[in-house]
């Protein structure tokens, strides 16, 4: 598991920005994640879809470093990150590689810290070379990038709407200048009109910054519009993966088909869905 570190820009880096191989995690006797492998190319966008208990969030948490895998490897730019970081410098370096945006914008921001200070804190940690004036300029730039103004900069989270909070969470992730951003159901809690705004924002950021996205979601329609590749998880295992367009238009696995059929739309037939669900169980 503790592979020797590959120097940055080594031959392995060319293959994929983020490489996940044989990832496993067991809680008690429950295999939450079971031999999950996929590759996120530089500047790419991979969706992880599945229902509750499919292991999608556990996978995301292991990649960002909030959970320790039982087995398998996770590399970003060729550097292994599945093992425990040895010191503070390594932990910070890993944080700069992968940042995460969580589902609930009401829980992911400290209620006592104003937006400006929340971003400043990240910059103090990850870009100490900027100095105070440099950080101020960078905070303004980040807020502008996510479409927030001076009024929001001085506000506490409770003064902000859900959509605005999610913008702050994205700006905070961007502040560390990450190579990979994990979006764990990042638009699920938002109203559709606001959700579309955040999806547009994410598409722009990806185009401009070339950050790779790992988009964890239960919502196939959202995944269709924001990812290039998709991995379908069920009970911790990958049942299907491939180009998003191919998987959604010609699903190979019965479970993927069930997921697609379950999305309400024209010709939606709950009785038939229930039947195919029972057939799969």
């Amino acid at each position: 598991m503790s592979k020797p570190k590959t120097p940055q820009g080594g031959p392995e880096a060319a293959a994929g920005l983020l490489e996940v191989r044989g990832l496993c995690r067991t809680f008690g006797d429950h295999k939450a994640v079971d031999d999950v492998s996929f590759t996120l190319p530089p500047g790419g966008s991979v969706g992880i879809v599945g229902e509750s208990g499919s292991g999608k969030t556990t996978t995301a948490r292991m990649i960002v470093g909030l959970e320790r895998p039982d087995g398998g490897s996770i590399t970003v730019g060729g550097r292994e990150r599945a093992s425990r970081p040895r010191n503070r410098a390594e932990r910070l370096a890993r944080a700069r590689e992968v940042q995460m945006v969580f589902q609930d914008p009401y829980l992911s921001l400290d209620p006592r810290i104003a937006v400006r200070d929340c971003l400043d804190e990240v910059l103090r940690l990850h870009a100490p070379e900027l100095g105070k004036p440099g950080r101020e300029a960078r905070v303004a730039e980040l807020l502008d990038q996510v479409g927030l103004g001076a009024r929001e900069a001085g506000a506490l989270p409770k003064r902000l709407s859900g959509g605005q909070r999610q913008r702050v969470a994205i700006a905070r992730a961007l502040a560390a200048n990450p190579r990979v951003m994990i979006l764990d159901e990042a638009v699920a809690a938002l109203d559709v009109s606001i959700q579309a705004q955040i999806l547009e924002l994410l598409a722009t950021i990806r185009r401009e910054e070339g950050i790779g996205y790992l988009f964890v979601s239960h919502d196939l329609a959202v995944v269709k519009h924001i990812t290039d590749d998709v991995v379908v998880l069920r009970n911790g295992k990958i049942v299907e993966s491939g180009r998003t367009a191919d998987v959604l238009s010609a699903p190979q696995h019965a479970y993927t088909r069930l997921l697609i059929d379950s999305v309400p739309g024209p010709g939606w037939d709950p009785e038939r869905i229930a039947e195919s669900r029972r057939a799969l169980a």
């Binding site: 009109s193 579309a196 379950s262 939606w268």
Partner: protein, 345 residues
């Protein structure tokens, strides 16, 4: 409050008559309902002249984003109002006004006529009590024997597709998954054999395959019992898939109402159209979602004209000063000053 109690006592006696006799009386009718919070709590009414109808056996969708007032509207039907709220207008269930009903009238309404299924099943059952107790509580209070109540509960659990219903009666809520527990909640809502079922985002907390099953159960039960259903949701696609007619709400007002298929094919209100365009779609060749700029009107704002004007691509000066009325057209109604101009065509 004193005079309202009196009026209910009068009405209570007339209840059986209204129920049996007049099939022309709509099952549920909201007429020009306005609901305000005490001064200072909100700049605009939470509900602003809301009128809607649900007939027996019908499924009616109430769609809107957070803060649109859809849940508040749904709760007024049970007389569940925000603290110190002031209301005008009428909410009638089978002809009986809910807003002026006193405690006894409300009790009768909630026990016998109207049931509600909430979004989060875990928040609507007592975690300390067995499912059997939860299901039979209302029946026992209604005077049924324990044995009959348990038999009825078992029957209902079978109806909502719970395997081993006898065993389920002895289990606690934590032993059920979210989808299974929502079925239990639906079974509980049906114990009183209500004429009207209020469903406030009943599948939002569930996985998509589970959502399909729960909606399937709701529809089947509704068909067999002839129950009318008011289905509150933020999900236009879901509403379109199951509802006969849909009301769209924005900032406390109904901005459009139409049969579901018609609403989807030809929305007349710019908000409905924008909402449809911002919904990501799974069909092949579907356009990427288009965002609506700005954000919904908060409670601190009281727009003078059309509440959607600031976000509307078609707004003209007049839209910011003149409040549009809900105007009937061929298939439904829309509240837009420019609806006649065919701006969405």
């Amino acid at each position: 409050m004193a005079d309202t109690t009196k009026s209910t006592t009068k009405k209570k006696n007339s209840v059986p008559a209204t129920r049996a006799a007049d099939s022309a009386t709509p099952l549920l009718a909201l007429d020009d309902v306005t609901l305000r919070l005490p001064d200072g709590a909100a700049a605009r009414p939470i509900l602003d002249g809301v009128s809607l109808r649900v007939e027996r056996g019908e499924t009616i969708g109430l769609v809107g984003e957070s803060g649109s007032g859809k849940s508040v509207a749904c709760r007024t039907v049970l007389g569940l109002l925000p603290k110190n709220a002031r209301t005008t207008g009428e909410v009638r269930v089978e002809g009986t006004d809910v807003l002026t009903a006193g405690p006894a009238g409300l009790r009768d309404l909630r026990r016998n006529k109207v049931s509600m299924v909430f979004q989060d099943p875990r928040a609507s059952v007592n975690p300390m009590r067995r499912v059997g107790d939860f299901l039979t509580e209302g029946l026992r209070l209604g005077g049924m024997s324990k044995k009959d109540a348990l038999a009825r509960a078992e029957e209902l659990l079978t109806e909502v597709g719970i395997r081993d219903p006898k065993g389920a009666l002895r289990r606690f809520p934590h032993e059920f998954s979210g989808g299974m527990l929502q079925r239990v909640v639906i079974a509980a809502a049906l114990t009183s054999d209500p004429a009207l079922l209020l469903a406030d985002e009943p599948t939002t907390a569930l996985d998509v395959t589970t959502q399909a099953e729960v909606v399937g159960i709701l529809r089947r039960l509704q068909a067999t019992h002839g129950t009318g259903m008011l289905f509150v949701t933020h999900d236009l696609e879901l509403a379109a898939a199951i509802c006969d007619r849909i009301y769209v709400m924005y900032a406390g007002r109904i901005v459009e109402s139409r049969p579901a298929a018609e609403l989807f094919a030809r929305p007349r209100h710019p908000y409905t159209a924008a909402l449809l365009a911002s919904t990501p779609r799974l069909e092949e060749g579907a356009e990427p979602p288009t965002a609506i700029s700005g954000r919904p009107v908060s409670l601190a704002e009281a727009p003078t004209g059309c509440a959607f004007a600031d976000r509307c691509a078609f707004a003209v000066d007049r839209c910011r000063t003149e409040k549009p009325a809900l105007v009937e057209d061929g298939t439904g109604a829309a509240a837009c000053l420019r609806v006649e101009e065919g701006i969405l065509a």
